[in-house]
């Protein structure tokens, strides 16, 4: 066992912390779910990219630092501890990019990666459909073969960021006779293409955090197919594994939230000692759980670096962080007392936002019910 941070890693941490300290905006950017906020977040991504902090895990030729998993975890810790903005490029750089690196042609890498990393092109995801949520394999949006490419029709929904994004990646049924996981193709398309209609959906917080996207005979050329035709499920699984696993919810985010919870508790101790006393156990539990999550992810990363496969552990991961996140924010709301729902109160509003966001955790990227099935069946070996 050895938990000493190696010197190079500590140096990397120091460098990241230094840059973030002098560059993170002093006041929060406007909401990502407004046009102005979206633009401000793009601008932030561009500054990150230019300083080579935007996509630290990518190879250097694409603007990254070739950072390994540990460096990525360290960067995320520093990023969230610094109170830096949410990542508008997240879908692209964390979910799509690993798939492009694995399955993309050189031309696709050249075409897509840099604009993605600079946030010149922000990506939305196109997985769920009205009839295909937890049961993703039942999707029906189709891609018909036409000269030089594909013609898309159908509908996607719960497409995060799609209200303001530029491109979408998603799965389409390219073999009309196919069923379930077979006959699907992974396709990239510009949301400005003819025949695409984006209808923003207001989320719990009233903002258009996701959208429905309709396809009415949308032409997509062959070069926008990622991986083989009909291979979409396999290609997509590499993305959803990332989504559920290490690269969706980095521990740094929860550690930062837990630290803010300690501050809130300390402040409440002065203003409302009874409330602070009542929440004491829950506050320390949230802090311990964030710490446990950090350790579990670190352990998983170290195993992965040691060559072990991590597979279904990402389902355990998702169950833990999504529950931790809800409980942490519930505790904050309890501390806030009657101020809990004041969405213009400078102290309460971020917690309320965070609570609303946390409520999506047990739902998206595979509901927790599905994840429990996965843990039971693939980790514990219970019958389907």
């Amino acid at each position: 066992m050895d938990l000493t941070e190696p010197a190079e890693l500590a140096a990397f941490r120091g460098e990241a912390r230094e840059w973030l300290r002098s560059h993170v905006p002093h006041s929060p950017l406007p909401s990502l779910d407004t046009a102005a906020g979206f633009a401000a977040h793009r601008e932030w991504e561009r500054r990150m990219y230019e300083a080579r902090w935007g996509v630290v895990t990518w190879p250097e030729p694409y603007g990254g630092r070739g950072a390994g998993l540990l460096e990525w975890l360290v960067f995320e810790e520093e990023y969230w501890a610094a109170g830096a903005p949410v990542r508008v490029s997240q879908n692209g750089i964390f979910l799509l990019a690993p798939t492009i690196f694995e399955y993309g042609t050189q031309a696709q890498k050249d075409r897509f990666l840099t604009p993605m990393a600079r946030a010149d092109e922000v990506w939305a995801q196109g997985w769920s459909e009205p009839g295909a949520g937890s049961d993703l394999a039942s999707l029906r949006s189709k891609a018909e073969r036409v000269d030089g490419g594909w013609r898309l029709s159908g509908q996607k929904t719960w497409s995060t960021r799609a209200a303001y994004a530029d491109w979408m990646f998603g799965l389409f049924r390219s073999d009309p006779a196919s069923e379930r996981h077979r006959g699907l193709t992974y396709i990239l398309l510009p949301l400005a293409a003819d025949g695409v209609t984006v209808r923003p959906i207001r989320q719990l917080d009233g903002e258009p955090g996701f959208a429905e996207v309709f396809f009415d005979e949308v032409f997509v050329p062959d070069e926008h197919v990622l991986g083989g035709v009909g291979e979409g499920w396999k290609v997509a699984m590499s993305t959803t594994t990332s989504e559920r696993g290490l690269t969706l919810r980095s521990p740094g985010r929860f550690m930062a939230a837990a630290d803010r919870l300690l501050d809130l508790h300390a402040a409440t101790q002065a203003s409302d000692p009874d409330a602070a006393a009542a929440a004491r156990g829950d506050v320390v539990q949230a802090w311990m759980d964030a710490d446990a999550y950090r350790l579990y992810v670190l352990g998983t990363a170290l195993k992965a670096l040691g060559g072990e496969s991590i597979g279904a552990e990402s389902s355990a991961n998702k169950l833990f962080w999504s529950q931790l996140d809800v409980a942490l924010h519930e505790t904050a709301l309890a501390l806030l007392g009657e101020r809990a729902t004041l969405d213009a109160d400078p102290v309460a509003a971020p917690w309320l936002d965070g609570y609303e966001f946390s409520l999506a955790g047990p739902i998206y990227a595979g509901t927790n019910e599905v994840q429990r099935n996965v843990v039971a069946e693939r980790v514990l070996g219970l019958p389907r």
Partner: protein, 332 residues
Amino acid sequence: MRLAPDQDALDFAGSVRELLADLADAAALRVAWDDADGRIPGVWKRLAEAGVLGLSVPEEYGGSGADLTTLLAVLVEVGRSALPEPLVETIVGAMLLAEAGGVIAEDWLPRVVAGEAVIAVGLGPGALVSAAPWADLLVVADHAGVLCAMPRDEATVTTSESVDRGVRLAAVDVPSRGGSAFDGVHLDRAFDAGVVAVAAQLTGLAEAMLDMAVRHAKQREQFGVVIGSFQAIKHQLADAYVANAFAAPVVARASWSVARDAPTRSRDASHAKHAATVAARRAARTALQVHAGIGYTFEHDLHMWMKRTWTLSSLWGTAAWHKERVAKEVLG
């Protein structure tokens, strides 16, 4: 013995339910949420005409002189419809006025009964006064801590925006020598009445959210079957149902304790708010999880019920505050 509202009260609540289904359905609620005022036009007057606003006002002021046990079922219905109207505040305010008597009661209570006046009250542990921006009369503490009543425009009312667009929460600043001081009123009892009234609303909210979730689970298909056939869905709904089913009699008992001013009144009221809050929050979480994506949208009605649950959880004392109040009684 009876641990449920009397048949008359149930029948009356049934008629209120119909009235609300008619005038204050989800569509009307949505309009009110988008409106600057936040209320549903005409409902208050109709509640007055139906006798709801006068129900607990003494007969000498034109009311029916009923107690909280009679109001209970109405409050559950008001919760079920997530109604954005200042009913609890006005009921509790009227209770204080009736107790104080005199000119102020004679002035205001008939107007309450007629649906012409809204009262907001500032009692209990919080600093925010719910419904103050809507109120005609405020019953709040002045700087010296003395409870007094005054027309709203004599105080400074600073509204705080809430994620629940169906309430109006405000800080109220009272001029030093404003208002009429109250004598001999039982603040704690009035507070407990409000607490139980809110608890009743929470059980109604929980019922409504579970109803929505059950309806959704019977319709929504995944993996070729309706999701309500999965044990994972069934069992979380069953657990949420049980939590609320066991909160309801606790709330009913508390209404009796308040009505009779029983020695256990405060303990019973706090137990009710705690149990109802925990059950309603659980119902909200369960309903959202069962609805999944669609429940997470602003377009779906669920969020209005959830947010009302959050607000009522945090007003009139949080669950933790009430649990500690019970603990002090039971454990010392």
